[in-house]
Symmetry: none
Subunit: 200 residues, 4 copies
DNA sequence: CATGAATGAGAATTCATTCAT
DNA sequence: CATGAATGAATTCTCATTCAT
């Protein structure tokens, strides 16, 4: 229950990520997590109220890690289109470097139960910054004037999917592939005329 | 082990879909499926070799159902862009009418284990037809010249996601919403100049 | 879940009684019951929905067994006072012969949780007969005109307690002891004048 | 291990009583007691050697509290029959005012394990006084000449049961009910002729 | 074919108790 | 003294699968 002291907390989260990435939710158990973390199973309950709390934490952590990675590379002085394209690139690089985190996010996003009682804490700094970028883009007439969640969907999930596909061999690992992906996503989210302009 | 006899086979698949749609893979068990189908647990093994075989079948079935629905509405005589846009519309309507099937597809698509040993049988008629449409679009310079799997991804997953979002209240249920979605997807998959043309 | 086939069901109940009688509710576990019954623990769930269902059944069974024993010896032709005194004697003998059943009843009666969701099925034949005896006694002006539950309490619990006390050595095991007990109970439940008459 | 220091000791006992009264022995744990008392779990072991020691203490405490309440109202100058009747009344009032204490006593009295290694310390002042009252009554030919424990049983347990029954709605909460109860108990424990006399 | 029963493995939790700080 | 952390045992229950009838 207490998060206080040590690295065991982190070990558990890392173990959970590894487990979720390779086995999915169906094969996820506190027993396995604990074993992977090299910790007696019952100790897991010192750090997390229950299995669900661990999953919640893993979800928040992975999402946050990814947000941080994207935001860190953001050049807020640059034009919005540039920022958007760069954020895709950054996210792709992140996905390549941390495939387990991305796999975990995908697995958890698909969970029906998780969705029910879990609302992403939208209040962290990094998320705010991305949200700001998008609302700015919207107001500047750069982004299509549709639901922001939908735009975010296009900005992230195809990237995750592509990165996973590259890793599994479904997609070829070429520079052109990423370029294509970016153009597709931009074509989806930008206002048509802005997209034309951005292309050149 | 044989599929021969009866409607219990279908009952099991329907039960599995309902279960997966509402509880996800983690809550899926042969016990529950059998109970939901009103069939003795052990009888499940008459129709399916094991749990995994049931899941495989469910995956094939749901994917196939969806393909059939899309293809059924396809007007092969129409211009490719029209066919594409219509297929999105059809798929969206299908998702609205069969939310459980779509939820099941999403859940199973996210499963890491399933991916490993499961290759979609690409040989059914409906899939061929869609594949043909896409290769035609590619060769005609209508679609972006990138991996067909990626184009298929853009053609389906955002639709599933949007439909689910509408149902959960995340997205508003307006005609404009669907129009936006179609334009986004088309913007993603069409060659830019074709897209411009299609817009008008 | 199914009670159908065999003696394992009974073995489990007997094991539960033995366990409750010697260890109380706090030491009662499905693990121990199953072990005592010589059955794999998980098999317990074939016969009982869960632990509580087993306890409920044990409660009903023990209560019923005791009712049957008392009613079996009842001479419905005899005067009511005689019947009452005899039922006490019978109950005492039963308690001596089946100390575990009585101990189990006492243990379960004291359980706070059990009380909440458990209502004795008052509809069995034997219970009806006792109830009839008491209402008859009430209408004949033989029993004190107070709540029947209270009268039943006096007719049973002191007997259980006395029998247990005799067995544990708290009370001496003499014929006089039982006579005293019967007189006390009769003094409690009979109308004073009837009691006087009965005494002689 | 020492009782010395503080009110936390009492808090633990009160918490234990509350827990036993509402959940019974089966749901009793040091974890819950400590939480209810607002004390770190491990601190419980500062005040009590182990779980059993806590239960023993709770038993002694509740029994003692109840004895004190009864004795406090005792008018040793009054006739023994009056004292007995009054003690029942007092005990009933106590049971109404402290239902948790009474429930705890009942729960602990039913515990098989507790009985084994627990002998009430019969040496406290209040207990002596009650014992004196009873032996006096015995020698004066007022009480039936039977085991004193049995008489004590009749003097207390029906009262507890009745009070609990009133609270749970099993018995109606009327003045007549209490009067009936007292007459029943007196009928049980008094010599028949004394009882007759007491009635008038 | 159909099915109830069986079963060992694992699942999530809770617990009583100890110990180092 | 006080306390958070630790831990192994135990508990309830579910599961996937097999088998005898």
């Amino acid at each position: 229950m207490k998060i206080k002291d040590d690295q065991k907390y982190d070990r558990l989260i890392q173990a959970a990520i590894a487990l979720l990435a390779t086995g999915g939710l169906a094969n996820f158990s506190t027993t396995k997590v604990a074993k992977q973390a090299g910790i007696p199973q019952s100790n897991l309950y010192i750090y997390f109220k229950n299995k669900q709390a661990l999953l919640d934490t893993v979800f928040q952590t992975t999402i946050h890690t990814q947000s941080v990675a994207v935001v860190a590379e953001l050049d807020t002085a640059a034009p919005i289109t540039i920022q958007l394209a760069n954020s895709i690139k950054t996210l792709y690089r992140f996905s390549q470097e941390h495939p387990q985190i991305v796999a975990t996010i995908q697995v958890l996003m698909a969970d029906v139960q998780l969705k029910k009682h879990l609302h992403l804490k939208q209040d962290d700094h990094e998320n705010q910054q991305i949200q700001t970028l998008l609302t700015d883009g919207l107001q500047a007439g750069i982004l299509r004037s549709t639901d922001l969640n939908l735009i975010r969907y296009f900005l992230t999930r195809p990237v995750f999917n592509y990165a996973a596909g590259v890793q599994s061999g479904l997609y070829p690992d070429t520079a052109q592939g990423l370029t294509d992906l970016i153009q597709m996503i931009m074509g989806a989210i930008l206002q048509p005329d802005v997209y034309q302009e951005w292309l050149s």
